[in-house]
Amino acid sequence: MTAITLAKGVNLGLRAAMEADPKVLIMGEDVGKLGGVFRVTDGLQKDFGEDRVIDTPLAESGILGTAVGLAMRGYRPVCEIQFDGFVYPAYDQIVSQVAKFHFRSRGLVKMPIVIRIPFGGGIGAVEHHSESPEAYFAHTAGLKVVACSNPIDGYWMIQQAIASDDPIVFFEPKRRYWEKGDLDEAATPDDLFSSRVVQEGTDATVLAYGPMVKTALEAAIAAADEGTSVEVIDLRTLSPLDMTPIHASVRKTGRAVVVHEAPVTLGLGSEIAARISEECFYSLEAPVLRVGGFDTPYPPSRIEEEYLPDLDRVLDAVDRSLAY
């Protein structure tokens, strides 16, 4: 067992994947010599060479477009998008090519591409560095979308994502990059596309992913002090959703709150609320409530803490749910 940060967890996972399969490549801006602006690819170019860890020209569409061609040639590119807000120039290649190639070719062409995106706010950054674009990808058929929330998941999930033959958008909560966890390399990881109950409870279910898992857990502790037993689920997979543990939890608690940083309107919470409302119709004692960013662009960082859901806003929603 070694204590590692999330950044290190993903770094070690990448290293393990590259060692396991010579077809795995890393591509992106500043991923080589610098090791990435968050150091997630630190040391990899040194050890695997410039042919496998590629500092690309500064153009995201170029990164994804050439990754498609490399995938056609049998490679498994792991593309880093430096910050969430810079994925949009690659949007066409992702939505019209990466997502559709398997379908277009009736499965003859696989797209084992992983798109790593450090996402979310809370680090005092300027514009375009704190976005949560996951819903755009979860709405796109042909892509799979996952988000890790802690170092251990970072380590395993990135390897599982790289091993998958489907294209995966892999979200990493950048403000949790420096938080630590104990890695046991001998453990057996959960399935990549599974959600996990990370805190059991009986009164209400809080669903979160990425950076908000920690917030949700803190809220559960605070709620416990007030006598409310909150169950917390770390979704981990955003597309497909893993509804089985969600159904079980909501049938038990009768109440659900979905939390994310992305704006509420058409965020992941809307899909989850719609599904729970339909699939657990007779179990719900309150409507599914959503806590998220407001429907504004991400604000200047001096007020990001107000903008982002925090412990209090999660508790407030739990209270409102319990009041039904």
């Binding site: 477009g65 062409v109 042909g142």
Partner: protein
């Protein structure tokens, strides 16, 4: 001539409602055959939606092309095995794929070995209009910076739907390459032998590891953009007349006849072959099986998802409910 017959037949089929749309290659046969014949087995081609004659050179059954435009699939061939990508409709996107594939060739060590059966190259097709897309220019940058073995083959047919080439560039297109640090050249796109020679040289350069080349095949779209288009709205008939006199097929015929390589019998035999092909295509096209509605759920992912499984099951149940109780609802399930 065979490819032109395919084209005529496809246009006819579209007119009869058997194809949704058809993008004719009329006038661009020399550019496509010349470049397509310069490819070796191990080379890989990335077409747009108009490279029917290149497909022919790659051994793709033209029926597959009809299938795509009919809407039974998105191209029935195996792009990896045939080393001919599926048609790319989003303008310019394939130039990056081609460059990435070329970077894969580099990593596989199959360029610059000196073994003619091993060294491989990639060719990316695109139109004059496509040169304005960011993706195409990014592909130039990538290919240049990584010395990727790719030939950028631009068929400048003078038009992007209704927009003349002046809307995309003020200077000859082949000069674009100069700004990116690799050679660009223009070839008479209606001269099949010239196209062959130039493409062959560019491919060879790529296979040797000397990097990309931009080839501008100067030609003309003699037909409409697609069967949905009406070019009389935007171009004058004199222009077409001018280019008709330069018809690539008439030119190669004249050349072959003049040099005694081909005689009347030869042409008659080709006409015959073309006619048989046309008959086969027409028949084959009408017989193409429609895809199964449930099949789409299985082709989205390599490993399907619970959502899709549920949707598939529900849809299967829904479809069979009609068989069980026909006429329950008013609407016809088409």
């Amino acid at each position: 001539m065979l490819t032109r017959r395919i084209d005529t037949e496809a246009t006819a089929l579209q007119r009869q409602g058997e194809l949704g749309i058809w993008a004719s290659l009329l006038g661009q046969e020399a550019a496509q055959i010349g470049s397509g014949r310069a490819l070796r087995d191990q080379d890989f081609a990335f077409p747009t939606y108009r490279e029917h004659a290149v497909a022919w050179c790659r051994g793709i059954d033209p029926l597959h092309l009809l299938g795509l435009f009919r809407g039974v699939d998105m191209g029935g061939w195996d792009p990896l095995a045939d080393k001919f990508n599926l048609y790319t409709i989003v303008i310019g996107a394939q130039t990056l794929h081609a460059t990435g594939y070329a970077m894969g060739l580099q990593r596989d060590g199959v360029i610059g070995t000196g073994d003619p059966d091993r060294d491989a190259a990639v060719i990316a097709y695109f139109g004059d209009g496509a040169t304005s897309q960011g993706d195409v220019n990014e592909a130039f940058i990538w290919a240049s910076v990584f010395t990727a073995p790719v030939v950028f083959f631009c068929q400048n047919n003078q038009w992007a739907i209704s927009e003349p080439i002046e809307r995309q560039s003020k200077i000859p297109l082949y000069q674009r390459a100069l700004g990116f640090g690799f050679p660009g050249l223009r070839v008479d796109g209606n001269d099949v032998l010239a196209v062959y020679a130039v493409t062959q040289a560019a491919l060879q350069r790529a296979r040797e590891g000397s990097g990309p080349t931009f080839v501008e095949a100067y030609t003309y779209r003699m037909g409409a953009h697609t069967t949905s288009d009406d070019p009389t709205r935007y171009r004058v008939s004199e222009e077409l007349e001018h280019w008709k006199a330069r018809d690539p097929i008439e030119r190669v015929k004249a050349y072959l006849t003049r040099n005694g390589v081909a005689d009347e019998d030869y042409y008659a035999a080709i006409e015959q072959e073309a006619e048989e092909l046309a008959v086969r295509l027409r028949k084959g096209c009408l017989e193409l099986p429609d895809p199964s509605p449930l099949g789409i759920f299985d082709q989205v992912y390599e490993e399907t998802t619970p959502e899709l499984q549920i949707q598939r099951e529900q849809f299967a149940a829904y479809l069979s409910s009609f068989e069980a109780a026909p006429g329950t609802h008013q609407g016809a399930l088409s």
